[in-house]
Every structure is written in C-alpha cells, then in structure tokens.
C-alpha cells in the first residue's frame, strides 16, 4: 500500500511540473484546452483502433463467400400430383411446391383481404397462368418450423410448433406467425419447369 501511494505522489509531481513548464513556455489559458484536446484525440484514436480491430472479428461471423454463392435449382413440376405437394431443399431450407386443386384455388381467391393478417391477393403469390402451382419457402414465419401439409383450419398448412394456420395460398390466418409464407424468387423456364433462386 505504502509503495503504491508513493508512486501516485510521484506522478502527481510530474504532472504539476509539466503544467508549469507549459505555462511558462507558451503562456495563455488556451493551452489547457489544447492539452485536453490532445488527450481526447489520443483517447478517441485508441477507441478507433479498438473498433477497427474488433470489426474483422465481428464480421467474420457473417455468411462466408461459399455460403453466399446463391444456389439455384430447377424443378420439374410434373412430379407433383394434383392436390399434393413436393418438398425440395434450397439453401438449407425446405421449399414447398404445391399443385392446388380448383377448389383450393377458389378458396384462396375468394378470401377477402380484410380477413388477412398480412394482406396479399392470391394472384400476387403465384405466376400468371400458373395459378395451380404455389411455390413457398416451407419455413413458418413465426419461429421457422416446417408446417405440415394439408392441415389446420384453413386447409393449407399447420405449424406444429406454436399453432399457426396457413390457407391454401400460404397466407397466415391464425396463430402467432406475423407474415405469410415467403414466396421465393423463381421463374418458369418452360411450362413444366421452374428455376428457384
């Protein structure tokens, strides 16, 4: 204790000396501000250096280049029977390709937007002229479980984890999920083939 006390005293002496020296050398009260500025600038540089060193450590956790290389897949729609769905894997997630029956399409189209939590028309969710095929990412917008096909109160999907009900257009109708099942970017490369991604 005694030793550390004496070191403190020394430091204080040095500081007093330097203050007096500066005072003698340059005169004027501005020096105190300038000195403060130098210390603040040095401190800011230290913080900046810390942030610059931390950033690569944080950034390395973002998706790596190979992960980011977005994959695309093609899918032959003739593999889906009417009234059924096929699950394919895209970017580590399931994608539902559903061949809807006329009754299911009718139900989806006839639903008024006012009945929807996340209003979107059925036409916005399918490609023109291909309204029988619905392509959605099979990941519940609540917490990411895979909803089960042809279940729930609205005949679309039902998420077993926390009870979200989706309709035949993949729109959220009941339960904790906030959004409709996401429609991925896809296009028809021919009448019976889609390219997802």
């Amino acid at each position: 204790m005694a030793r550390s006390g004496s070191i403190g005293a020394h430091e204080r002496c040095d500081v007093t000396e330097s203050v007096e020296l500066n005072h003698d050398g340059h005169g004027g009260g501005d020096d105190a501000t300038r000195r403060d500025f130098i210390h603040i600038a040095a401190g800011a540089a230290a913080v900046g250096a810390g942030v610059m060193m931390a950033w690569p450590l944080v950034n390395q956790m973002n998706p790596a280049a190979d992960t980011l290389a977005l994959s695309t897949i093609e899918f032959d729609l003739t593999k889906v029977a009417e009234g059924m769905q096929v699950v394919i894997k895209w970017q580590g997630k399931p994608v539902f390709v559903r061949y809807r029956t006329p009754k299911e399409i009718e139900e989806a189209v006839d639903t008024p937007l006012s009945a929807l939590k996340d209003p979107q028309t059925d036409a916005d969710r399918v490609k023109e002229g291909h309204s029988q095929y619905l392509v959605v990412i099979g990941s519940c917008t609540h917490l990411g479980c895979v909803p089960t096909f042809n279940a729930g109160d609205y005949g679309g999907w039902f998420c077993p984890c926390h009870g979200s009900h989706y309709d035949t257009s993949g729109r959220i109708r009941k339960g904790p999920a906030p959004k409709n099942l996401v429609v991925p970017t896809y296009e028809y490369v021919s009448d019976t083939r889609v390219k997802i991604g």
Binding site: V58, M61, N62, P63, A64, T67, V87, K89, Q91, G92, K93, P94, G138, H142, L143, G144, C145, V146, C159, P160, C161, H162, G163, K174, P176, A177, P178
Partner: protein, 433 residues
C-alpha cells in the same frame, strides 16, 4: 475479505518469503476462517453444489471436446462414437448431459433461497445481479451445448431460438443471418456454437469469482435476514472451516446421489427421444419442446400472441430478476418474518412449476379434459393457452405489483436483534416442534 481481520501467521521461512510476494496461502487461510453466520441451513449449501456442478461440466466438457467433431455430417456419429467406442465415454457424456440438468436444479433452488430470505436486498444487490448474469450465461451455454449432438431437437431448438432474434424489428434479420452465418442453420452455425459453448463456461467462472468477491465483501445473508458485517459478533458466527465445509460436503454428497441415479439408471429421462434422430432440416418433429429447465420461459414466450411481444416477455421474465432489489420495498429481509409475503411466495413456486408444465403441453390442448368451455378472444378458455396466460400474469405481477405493494402494507413479525438471540434463547420461533 475486507472486514475480516487476517489471522494467518506464516510459520516457516518459505511461507514468510511467499507471503511477502504472493499472499496466496493467506488468501486461502482467510477464506477458510471466514466468520459465517451460524444459522445457515441446508438451503445455503447450493452455492457449494453449484461450484461443483460448474467444475464437473468444465472438466467433462474439455474431455468430450477431445472426441467431438463440430461438423453437420459427423457431429451425431461422433457423439455416438463417444458413447460406444471411447473408453468410458458413455459415462463422461452422460455425466455432462445430465450435469446440465443438475446444474439447473441447483441454480433454481439457490435462486429461490435467495428470493425467500431476501438475499438480494441491500447491501447485496451486486451479488444478486452477478448471480442473474451467471444464470443468463448458463441458459446461453446450455442452449449452445444442446445444439452440438445435432439431433432433431438440437436443430429445431436452434432454429426456433435463433428465430427469436429475428423478431427484433429492423435489425433482427441481419443479426439473425450474422449469428447463423448463412440463410439457414448449417455447418457455420454448428461450428461457432461449439466455439462459444467452449468459451462461455470460463466466462461463467469469471463471474462466479466476482459473485464470491461481492459475497465476501457484504457478508453472507442468513435465514434470519439480519446481521450485516459491522454487527457481527463471535456469538453470531462460526469459522467457515470446518463447520460449513462439512455441512456443504454432506449436502454435495446427497446431491451426487441424485446425480448418480440419473446418470446410471435413467440417463435419457431428462432428454427427448427425438434428439437421437439425426437433424433433418426438412422435417420438424411433431412436438418441439425445450429442455425442462427452459420450459417456464418457453411457456411465457407462447403465451403472447405477438411474435416480438412474446420474445420481449420471455427475456423480460429473466430481466425482471436484475431489478428485483429495487422492486422489494420491505424493510425486512427474510420472509420468515413476512407471513403475507410468504403466502405469495408459495403461490409463486406453484406458478413457476405450473408454467413449466404448460411449456411442455400443446397450447390448444384442454387442461381439464371434457370440461365445457367457450372461446375467449383467440382460444378456448379451457386450454393451456389461457392457463399459461394466467400464470404468466401472476409471474410478472409477483415482481411488479405484489413485491412493492406488500412490502409497504404488511406488518412483519418482530425480527430478532441478532442471530445469537433466537439461537441461544431456545430456538428460532418457527422451528418449534
């Protein structure tokens, strides 16, 4: 450490030499002779039990990491290889897996003890807050560890819990992708979870040191809730060793018996069978449930119909513990002298267990089968959804309404002036019979 006069006298030359350079023996000796309230009961042994749990988890974890492979293709098989081919690997892995549950049993009892005897009240707020930090880190560590065997529950647990972060408005989605290292839970996620699971126990260890430092600065609380350092008299205290080392030791052995029953006779009873199915990103298990120690918080998450609201409530349920020292308005620490609060505490216990029960049920299932019910807002009244909401309401009311209000209104029983008073006068009142 601060108020306790050191009684250590170095005897040999070597001890003197060491003591003037690194007084580590003095530190240990002072720790062992620390004056400890003589009325500490068995609820006060969980600190020692928890220290043991942390050590067991760190040691078995380091050993398991020598054999485990953090890769989505190999993780499941590497865990099974530990169970089948590594010498005694089944024992180490079962100890580690059940050790997590034992750790949580002990930490919950430790926290409830603190709650009951008012161990969070001044001057012990920092001890309590550090304890809450440890609890939060334990939850994080347990979650990360549960992902590593890469079974179905591992994968879908990771999916659901990381998605909670995605619920945060604006920054949720980028943070989610940053955390997972890709659009979905995959190899990058497993690898970093392994790294963090290895790291966090050492962070916990560091916070435990601070927790003990703070404890030895403010002095231990005790069942009577009286006695702060300056009031200590030799009549109130006993040296930590041998009185409390032997008491803690006995409790630790009883705890180990419970631990051993699980490890050797029902090693998978606390887990879920689905976690022996390798992870499949295309198929969610029919019924996702977290490990039992997360169930009450999981129930609170599901009680709120809004996604972000649910996440806030769940974290709020842990967060409220941090401000507990300022929610309790009572001048009396121990609930032993607070008959009204004691009743609310017992209800709180039941509510906590009830929330855990609800967390394991399907929200739409009937609580009382066959009982007539009616639709209330978004669910049947006779459903776990509404029971969970009722219990959640009590959970928060206990901290935000009951604690401040009862503290102001109730008339506590007379509190003895010192620990030695009731002890030496023939029994602490409530212990009669």
């Amino acid at each position: 450490m601060s108020d306790h006069e050191s009684t250590y006298v170095p005897k040999t030359g070597i001890e003197k030499w060491l003591d003037s350079r690194l007084p580590i023996i003095r530190f240990g000796a002072d720790y062992m002779s620390l004056p400890t309230p003589r009325n500490l009961n068995y609820w006060y042994t969980f600190g020692g039990i928890l220290t043991l749990c942390l050590m067991v988890q760190i040691v078995t974890g380091i050993v398991l990491a020598m054999h485990y492979v953090p890769n989505t293709e190999l993780a499941f098989a590497s865990v099974e290889r530990i169970m089948r081919d590594v010498n005694g690997g089944w024992l180490i892995r079962y100890v580690h897996a059940n050790g997590a549950s034992m750790f949580f049993i002990a930490v919950y009892l430790h926290m409830l003890r603190g709650l009951y005897y008012g161990s969070y009240k001044a001057p012990r707020e920092i001890i309590w807050i550090l304890g809450c930090v440890i609890f939060f880190l334990m939850i994080a560590t347990a979650f990360l560890g549960y992902v590593l065997p890469w079974g179905q529950m591992s994968f879908w647990g990771a999916e659901v819990i990381t998605n909670l972060i995605g619920a945060i408005p604006m920054i949720g989605e980028p943070v989610l992708i940053w955390l997972r290292g890709g659009p979905a839970i995959d190899n990058a996620t497993l690898n970093r979870f392994f790294s963090l699971h290895y790291l966090l126990p050492f962070v916990i260890f560091g916070v435990v040191v601070l927790h003990l430092w703070a404890l030895h600065t403010s002095g231990q609380n005790n069942p009577a809730g009286i006695l702060i350092p300056k009031e200590r008299t030799p009549k109130d205290t006993l040296p930590f060793h041998p009185y409390f080392t032997v008491k803690d030791g006995f409790a630790i052995i009883l705890f180990l018996i419970l631990f051993a029953v699980f490890v050797f006779y029902m090693p998978n009873a606390l887990g879920h069978a689905d976690n022996y199915i390798p992870a499949n990103p295309l198929q969610t298990p029919a019924h996702i449930v977290p490990e039992w120690y997360m169930l009450p918080f999981y129930a609170i998450l599901r009680a709120i119909p809004d996604k972000f609201g649910g996440v806030l409530a769940m974290f709020g349920a842990i967060g409220v513990l941090f401000i507990l020292p300022w929610l309790d308005t009572s001048r009396v620490r121990s609930m032993r002298y607070r008959p009204t609060m004691k009743v609310f505490f017992l209800i709180f216990l039941v509510v906590g267990v009830g929330l855990g029960w609800c967390g394991a049920q399907l929200p739409d299932a009937q609580v009382v089968p066959g009982m007539p019910s009616f639709q209330l807002l978004d669910g049947q009244l006779n459903s776990y959804l509404w029971l969970t909401r009722l219990l959640t309401a009590y959970y928060f009311a206990f901290f935000f309404i009951i604690m401040p209000w009862v503290g102001l209104k109730e008339t506590p029983l007379p509190v003895p002036h010192s620990i030695s008073e009731p002890v030496l006068d023939g029994g602490i009142p409530e212990k009669k019979g």
